[in-house]
Symmetry: C2
Amino acid sequence: VEFDLIESIRVRAVARDDVLLGIGDDAALLQPPPGQALAVSTDTLNAGVHFPQETAPADLGWKALAVNLSDLAAMGAQPAWCTLSLSLPQADPAWLDAFLDGFLALAQGHAIALVGGDTTRGPLSVGVTVHGFVPAEFALRRTGARVGDEIWITGTIGDAAAALAQWRAGDVCDPALRARLDRPTPRIEAGLALRGLAHAAVDVSDGLLADLAHVLRASDAGAVLQAQALPHSPALAARFDATRRLPLQLAGGDDYELCFCAPPAAHAAIGHALAAVKTPAAVIGRVVAEPGLHVVDAAGNAIDVASRGFEHFTEAGR
Amino acid sequence: VEFDLIESIRVRAVARDDVLLGIGDDAALLQPPPGQALAVSTDTLNAGVHFPQETAPADLGWKALAVNLSDLAAMGAQPAWCTLSLSLPQADPAWLDAFLDGFLALAQGHAIALVGGDTTRGPLSVGVTVHGFVPAEFALRRTGARVGDEIWITGTIGDAAAALAQWRAGDVCDPALRARLDRPTPRIEAGLALRGLAHAAVDVSDGLLADLAHVLRASDAGAVLQAQALPHSPALAARFDATRRLPLQLAGGDDYELCFCAPPAAHAAIGHALAAVKTPAAVIGRVVAEPGLHVVDAAGNAIDVASRGFEHFTEAGR
């Protein structure tokens, strides 16, 4: 059974000149480009933990790759290769075909080759490891934020958490929100465009507050965010008023937008660079010397995020 | 919880000069050596499928890395980096410490850096991706076997399957046999020594017949194996007579020895090269033009492996 699945994966993989040997031997043989660092990230999605058991296989395939590509985007890396470890309760060719439809649709869109993997029997789980390239000096590390930097976010946030909230409440899911949860867009082109412009970046997978806090801790700094500056989609605004929106935007994860810190002097250049790759972005706050992460309202008054249960929300949302 | 586990992994990782950025950012940044191919392999072990739920965590840590390193050994690659995806039913620092004891004991013995990973909640499962280097022209591919090649096996085979058979039967496990099942030794040095000498190689994970069949199919050839030439350990011979030993040696997996094909002209050079890395090896057969895999006894009579239920044995052993 295992070998049939691997074969059905092999025949559908993208070809690349730098793949000397793909699926089918003990290991893949790859040719990294000279003069660049290899960026490697790995993430696993488990049924019932990271996605509902009944998730459409094509959506799962897409998302399992997307969450990994998002990590490469947050490093400013150009993705190239991936491996796939798939645990399935039983061999199911139709399920696997649909899964690969979603996985490979995203892979092919970025010319990423699936170079290896294994299929095993077990509870439904998808592990992906992605490989990309970035000149080491241009990598967008978490440690680079500096006091005075503007804090940016690409696109809009809160949609995926809103879809999850609707789903959990048994409400009809808005299709636009649901699409953000099921088929997130890794911000690869934005990550590449920010090379040499941004000081630090992270992708929003666990929630804006949690993910930005990693950057701030690593950079030994704090931040003040403007609640009213958080960009939201029309779909989110139509279903959730500002009060209900805020926790979704601050603590909801799964949007896979990039949050990055950059000097104000780079503001115009960033605007141009992101416009060139059709990625909207907005400044949502500022890096400050005092440790901690503070959110203020339009009048400049602090919003006590801890007392409003955002932590709890995050926990429930995992 | 996730971040505490990652932190406890991070502080114990091996340092290497070619790791520009290890655990703790969106991706690791690595510096591959110029002029070599990057060899990448991934394997996942699931509780209840690949190992009993009650396996000692240190043994599981060792084995999860060992089975992956074995794939690199079978390519003739020098291992360098690995990532770890760990699914755990609950956060358990003592379990994780023990797991890392086993994992890192093997990693440190080969100066392999753990550069990334993720810990998730879910059924116990360990996914590892390993990275190594090999000049592309020296890689031991499965496609290279030629008619007339000698077929070799390193070490001894059958021990791991014997331990599994004892365990399944509720018998007392012989410690020497059990050690082969719990803490297999990836034949890394042997793989490196065989560069430029062997035509093709595979590691014995699913069983000698199954794994050699992959090489033969890829190389468009067949083979004749001498049953009496299969090397066995003293522990195996003490517990299993020749008749009971044969299916364990032919169809039992999990020994992680290297099976390789090489021209008879290289016989002496291979003997020297493997002796230099203290790896015993024996010739067990010959590559032939006629497709198929035949096993013969000491008198040269064919042993009908299919009728003796080896396939079934393999299935039950998975």
